[in-house]
């Protein structure tokens, strides 16, 4: 019976795997974040639930799912409901094109990175809707900060990725990894790597650029009014975005799945890929608990006066070197 083509079944299975990967990741990363934060501040972090508090996030997740979602008065209800979904769904769908190993990739689009960037651009819209529909000054201020920051930092981010794309001549994630067989691009393009990493910290609203949710001034920023699983979806989306940043960095600069050979490298390359991704994510957490939050004018000056010029010069030099 050829009712369901094999391609359809394959996509179905990989979607289920990707969704469970994202959920599992968020659980592990919340735990890691709290533990690392604890140890950096010389305290143990979560310790009560399970050995060394290892089940803490599972219990927290269950609690969030059981909670009632409270709708404050005078909100714009349809938009209030759409916003968390819009923050979560695109972040998960983007994982479809991530090459975990030579064979573990759901779809190899020939414009994979544009697919990811297009979906990532919806994140800003979600934050805006959340902030605006909450009818709360903290939410609105958080959302407006977020969009100013995201629009500004998108430019150096794209410039740095473009420098790599000049060298690979392809937008497919898989061929970008394969182009790094002789040498990782972090060696050839160190400036692009730094620009991308810093800009992506700002794009994911992570400290030291977490002004949209600066808890000491804005309560929780754009998701102040959200509770229960609506809040949980924002959280899942944020961690999915962090892993996505790690995955893009690994694919573009750290050679993707390449590493010391393992048995069944076509599949087990995912081990090296994930190891690099988690290292990047760990550095993001490390940054968060090391640097204080920047002021808004510093944030904007840093982007427009340092990152964008450096990105442009780097791009021009790359183009010149490739042409000569």
């Amino acid at each position: 019976m050829a009712l369901l083509p094999p391609e359809f079944i394959r996509i179905l299975i990989s979607s289920v795997l990707i969704v469970s990967f994202v959920f599992l990741n968020a659980m592990i990363l919340v735990y890691i974040e709290r533990k690392v934060a604890g140890h950096i501040q010389r305290r143990p972090g979560p310790m009560e639930v399970g050995p060394h508090g290892i089940l803490q996030t599972l219990i927290d997740g269950l609690k969030l799912m059981g909670k009632q979602i409270i709708f404050p008065d005078n909100i714009d209800k349809p938009l209030f409901c759409i916003a968390p979904l819009l923050a979560f769904v695109p972040a998960v769908v983007a994982f479809v094109v991530i090459p975990f190993s030579p064979k573990l990739q759901a779809v190899d689009l020939d414009m994979g990175i544009i697919f990811i960037l297009a979906l990532a651009s919806l994140n800003v819209l979600a934050i805006l809707l959340a902030g605006w529909s909450s009818n709360n000054k903290y939410s609105l201020i958080g959302a407006m900060r977020s969009v100013a920051q995201n629009i500004a930092y998108e430019i150096p981010m794209l410039l740095s990725l473009l420098a790599v794309l000049f060298m690979t001549n392809s937008l497919s994630m898989k061929s970008i990894v394969e182009a790094q067989k002789p040498l990782w691009f972090i060696v050839v393009q160190p400036v692009a790597f730094l620009i991308y990493f810093i800009a992506s910290l700002a794009e994911t609203n992570r400290a030291p650029f977490d002004l949209p949710e600066a808890e000491s001034e804005l309560t929780a920023g754009f998701h102040t009014e959200y509770g229960g699983m609506a809040y949980g979806l924002f959280y899942l989306g944020e961690y999915a975005n962090m892993v996505m940043v790690g995955a893009i960095t690994t694919t573009f600069f750290l050679g993707g799945w390449s590493g010391p050979p393992l048995p069944y490298m076509e599949y087990s390359g995912a081990f090296w890929f994930l190891a690099k991704v988690y290292f990047i994510v760990f550095s993001m957490i490390w940054f968060r608990w090391t640097f204080p939050r920047v002021r808004f004018d510093q944030l904007m000056n840093f982007c427009w006066k340092i990152m964008v010029p450096f990105g442009l010069v780097n791009l021009m030099i790359t183009a010149l070197v490739l042409k000569i």
Binding site: W132, N135, L171
Partner: protein, 175 residues
Amino acid sequence: MADPVLPYQFVSEIFFCGFVVLALSGGIIAVSARYLLHALLGLVVTLFGVAGLYLYLGSFFISLMQVLIYVGAICVTIVFAIMLTETPDQVKENHKSGLRSFLAAGAGLAALSCAFQFIYLTEWQPALSRTDDFSIIAVGKRLLTEYCLVFEMISLVLLFAIIGSIILARGGRGN
């Protein structure tokens, strides 16, 4: 099953209709919205519908670009401008006086009849008979050579959008 292609064609036609309905319903939302922001979200829905139509036509690249540029960048910029002007608790009176809506309907009909005139005059050729190369390189070359004027005209439209949003923002929170 007699013809193996038939069910797929049926599915693709369903998708086509879905995208058209999406684009049209976005337009209806935009026109009938009470808040400016809802009107803009209607625009977002329409743009998604149009992106879906590009997908139906087989140009994945253009469809992604539609989402990346129009939804991700331009709509967000417009929302930013609108957020400076109103929040949900400031429900504004809709200026639906007789003369205004009459003029608006007249202008809309005039624009529509112009568009229909052009649609009627143009000799339509299916894209496949003109080219079968939908790669990024081909699209890029065409945009910067043959269709350069159209490309630049679109950026003019965007300039108008930006100016319009600035004008809207200026009259907002200040008073």
